[in-house]
Amino acid sequence: MNSKTGGQNRQSIAVDEQILDQTVLEDLRKLLDDDFQLFIKTFLHDMDHRCQVIVNATAIQDLDVVRHAAHSLKGSACNLGAHLLTNICALLETAARDGDVEQIKTSTQDLEQQRHQVRNRISQLA
C-alpha cells in the first residue's frame, strides 16, 4: 500500500467530499442512468459559463449580474453535492446584494480555484 494513498488522512478525504460529494454523485448516476453523462456535460458547461460571467461582471462591478449568476450556480452546485462551490456562490450572492466589493473580488478568485477543483474531481469519479 502506497503511503500517500494509504495514508491519505481523513481531512483530505473530507475535503474531497466537500469539493464533490461522492454519495450524491452515485445517486445521480443511478437516477439519470443513460442521461448521466449528458447531465455532467451540461453542468460543466453551465459552471464554466457562469464563472466567466461572474469574472466579467466583477471587473466592471455589475453587481446584479454577479448576484443572479452566483445564485443560479449555487443551486446547480448544490444539486450536484459540490458543497464548497455552493458556499462560495452563496457568499458571492450575499456580497453582491450588500454591495461588498472587496468580498466580491475575494470570492471571485476563490470561485475560479474551486471551479478547477470540481472539474478535476468530476473527471476522477465520473
Binding site: L31, H45, D46, H68, H71, G75, S76, N79
Partner: protein, 589 residues
C-alpha cells in the same frame, strides 16, 4: 381537456400521468428535474424563463407547474401571477423551486400564489411524492367543479319546471274575487311553491267564500295539491254547493292524492253579507283573529276574538272520518277577519327568534286606524326580520264585512250570454223531485236543481237569482216546514248560531216528512218562463199577513221573501202555506 377528463374518470388512488411544466433557467437543474419527473411517469414541458413558462402554460394547460423563483426576463413570482390569471377558476398547483432556506423567503413563495416549495438539492423521492399529492388535489378540485356544474344544471331545470308549473297553476286557479275591494291579500310571489294558497269566490246567493291553505313541504310537491283544491273550490262554489260540501270534497281529493304525512292546514270561511254572519271551518292553522275594531264599546283587547282550529288539517282523515262542522260568528259592518298561515308567526330575525303571537297581538293593541292594520302587520314583521319584502314567505289576508249592496256593486251580474230564438235548448219540460228524510239528511239538492236549470241557455244569465230563489224556498221548506224550527230565531245574528245548532240537531234526529220540487218551463213569445213550486209536509204558516211581517224587517232575516218578490213576476202561497210557487220570466237578448 382530454387529459383532464381522463384524470377524473380514474380511481382517486390510481397512478396517473400528469402534465408538468418545469421552468428553471439553469440547464443542469432543468435537466435533472425533467429526468426525475419523467422517471416518475409524467409528461414534462421544460422552459428556461418566466415568459416562456407563461406561454407554455397557455399552450399546454399542464396539471402542475414547477417554477424557479429567480429567472431572467420574468421571474417566478411574476410568472406565477400570470399563470394564476390564465388558470382562472382551475386551482393549478404551483411549486416554487428555490435554494433559499430562510423562512421569510419560503413564506414569500407561498404568498406569491405558490402551493408549495421545493428546496435544492432536489430529492427525487420527495419530489415524486409531492407531485403525486398535488395530482390527487387536482383531481379533487376537478371533481368538485364537475359536481358543482351538474348541480347548477339541475337547479336551472328545477327553476324552469317551476315556472311552467306556476303558469299552469295561474291558469287553473284564477284569482276569483281576491281583488274585491273588501279584501286585502298579501302573498309572496312564489307563495304557491311555499305551499300557501288563497282563494276567494262569489257565491251564487251573493255571499263570499274565502279559503286560505298551507301545504306541508316546499317546491313542486307543495304546489301540486293546490291545483285540484282550487279547481274543486271554484267549481263547487259556482254550482252552489255549501261550505261543508266543498271542504269535504277537497279533503277527499287530497287524502286520495297526497301521500301519508303530507297535508294542508286550511280555513274556509263563508261570508254572509246580508245576515252579518260568518261560518268557519279551520283545521291545523294557528288562531285567526276576528277583529271588531269598529265597535267603540269594546276595548282593544276585547275587540279581538281568536278563532282556533277545531279540526285536523285536510288530507289526513278518510272521507268517512272527516268532520265538516263549522263555527259560527256574528260579524257586523266594518268588522274584519284576519287570516294567516304560520309563516308570519314563524318569521325569524337573525338571532333566531320568531315573530310570534305576542308581537302580532301587540300590533292590534297599538293600532289606532283600522284601515291601516293590514299594512301595520306587514310592517311589523318586516321590521322584526330586517329582510326585504320580496324575500318574505308570509301570507296575510284581511276581509272586511260590507253590505250585500256594496259587494254586488263591485261584481255586478256576470257578462250576458246572447240567446236567440235559434239556440233555445229545452223549452217545454217539467221536472218533479221529492226528497224524503234519509235524503234530506245527507243530500243538498240545490246544485243538482241549478244544474238542471242551466241546461236552458235563456236561464244561464240568471243563475244567481235562480239559485237564490231555490235556496230560500228550500231552506224554508226543510227547516221551518219539515223540521219545525222557529224561523224567528234567524232574525238576530246571535239567534242564527242557535238556529244553526237546532237545525243540525233536528236533521240528525228521527223525523218524518218530505220536500217536493216541481220545475216547469215553457216558451213565451219573446223568451221563456219557469215556475218553481216547492211543497213540504209541514204545517205551513199564516201567509196572509206576510206583507205586515215583512215591513218590520230590519234585514237580519236575510234577503228572503222581499228579494224573491222583486225577482219573480208571480209569487204565491197555497193551502196552509206549505206550498209556494215562484214564477220567473226571461227574454231573448
Amino acid at each position: 381537456m382530454e387529459a383532464q377528463k381522463n384524470l377524473i374518470d380514474l380511481d382517486p388512488d390510481a397512478e396517473v400521468a400528469l402534465k408538468v411544466l418545469i421552468a428553471d433557467d439553469n440547464d443542469s437543474d432543468r435537466l435533472l428535474l425533467t429526468t426525475i419527473v419523467q422517471n416518475a411517469g409524467h409528461q414534462v414541458f421544460a422552459v428556461a424563463n418566466g415568459q416562456d413558462a407563461v406561454n407554455a402554460f397557455n399552450d399546454n394547460r399542464p396539471d402542475i407547474v414547477l417554477l424557479d423563483a429567480m429567472m431572467p426576463i420574468m421571474d417566478g413570482f411574476q410568472a406565477a401571477e400570470h399563470i394564476t390569471d390564465l388558470a382562472g377558476e382551475e386551482a393549478i398547483p404551483i411549486v416554487f423551486l428555490t435554494s433559499l432556506k430562510d423562512a421569510a423567503s419560503l413564506a414569500k413563495c407561498l404568498d406569491a400564489g405558490g402551493t408549495d416549495f421545493l428546496s435544492k438539492p432536489y430529492n427525487r423521492l420527495i419530489l415524486a411524492a409531492k407531485i403525486r399529492a398535488l395530482g390527487r388535489l387536482r383531481k379533487l378540485q376537478l371533481l368538485v367543479r364537475m359536481q358543482r356544474d351538474r348541480l347548477a344544471i339541475h337547479h336551472d331545470h328545477l327553476i324552469r319546471e317551476q315556472e311552467v308549473a306556476k303558469r299552469v297553476f295561474d291558469n287553473i286557479a284564477h284569482p276569483g274575487c281576491v281583488n274585491s275591494p273588501n279584501m286585502k291579500a298579501h302573498l309572496s310571489p312564489m307563495a304557491v311553491f311555499n305551499g300557501d294558497m288563497v282563494l276567494a269566490a262569489r257565491k251564487p246567493d251573493g255571499g263570499m267564500f274565502v279559503l286560505i291553505g298551507d301545504f306541508t313541504g316546499h317546491g313542486l310537491p307543495a304546489a301540486i295539491g293546490a291545483m285540484p283544491a282550487s279547481e274543486i273550490f271554484y267549481g263547487m262554489t259556482n254550482k252552489g254547493f255549501s261550505l261543508q260540501e266543498i271542504i269535504s270534497e277537497i279533503n277527499k281529493k287530497l287524502s286520495n292524492i297526497l301521500p301519508v304525512g303530507v297535508f294542508c292546514c286550511c280555513a274556509l270561511v263563508d261570508f254572509s253579507f246580508d245576515r252579518n254572519i260568518i261560518q268557519i271551518w279551520a283545521g291545523g292553522l294557528p288562531e285567526l283573529f276576528l277583529y271588531r275594531g269598529a265597535d267603540k264599546s269594546l276595548s282593544k283587547a276585547d275587540a279581538i276574538e281568536a278563532v282556533g282550529s277545531k279540526h285536523l288539517p285536510l288530507g289526513v282523515l278518510s272521507p268517512q272520518r272527516f268532520n265538516s262542522d263549522v263555527q259560527v260568528f256574528e260579524m257586523r259592518q266594518g268588522d274584519r277577519l284576519y287570516l294567516w298561515t304560520d309563516g308570519i308567526l314563524e318569521a325569524g330575525d337573525d338571532k333566531g327568534d320568531m315573530f310570534g303571537e305576542d308581537r302580532l297581538k301587540t300590533v292590534f293593541l297599538k293600532n289606532t286606524t283600522i284601515d291601516v292594520m293590514f299594512d301595520e302587520i306587514l310592517g311589523a314583521v318586516d321590521q322584526f326580520t330586517g329582510r326585504q319584502e320580496q324575500d318574505d314567505d308570509h301570507t296575510l289576508v284581511e276581509v272586511k264585512m260590507v253590505t250585500q249592496t256594496e259587494f254586488d256593486t263591485y261584481f255586478g251580474e256576470k257578462k250576458q250570454e246572447k240567446v236567440s230564438a235559434e239556440s233555445v235548448g229545452p223549452m217545454a219540460w217539467e221536472f218533479k223531485y221529492t226528497l224524503r228524510p234519509q235524503s234530506l239528511k245527507v243530500f243538498n239538492p240545490l246544485p243538482l236543481l241549478t244544474h238542471m236549470l242551466m241546461e236552458v241557455p235563456g236561464l244561464r244569465n240568471h243563475s244567481s237569482k235562480l239559485y237564490t230563489i231555490l235556496a230560500e224556498l228550500y231552506s224554508n221548506a226543510l227547516e221551518h216546514g219539515v223540521l219545525g224550527i222557529n224561523s224567528s230565531l234567524k232574525s238576530s245574528s246571535q239567534g242564527f248560531a242557535e238556529y244553526y245548532r237546532q237545525r243540525e240537531q233536528a236533521l240528525n234526529s228521527d223525523f218524518k216528512g218530505f220536500v217536493t220540487f216541481t220545475l216547469t218551463h215553457r216558451a213565451e213569445p219573446d223568451g221563456g218562463a219557469l215556475v218553481i213550486r216547492v211543497e213540504d209536509s209541514g204545517l205551513g204558516f199564516d201567509y196572509a199577513n206576510i206583507e205586515q211581517n215583512l215591513s218590520g224587517n230590519d234585514g237580519y232575516c236575510g234577503r228572503g221573501i222581499p228579494l224573491l218578490l222583486s225577482m219573480c213576476r208571480r209569487f204565491e202561497y197555497f193551502d196552509s202555506g206549505n206550498k209556494v210557487e215562484a214564477e220567473f220570466e226571461w227574454r231573448f237578448a
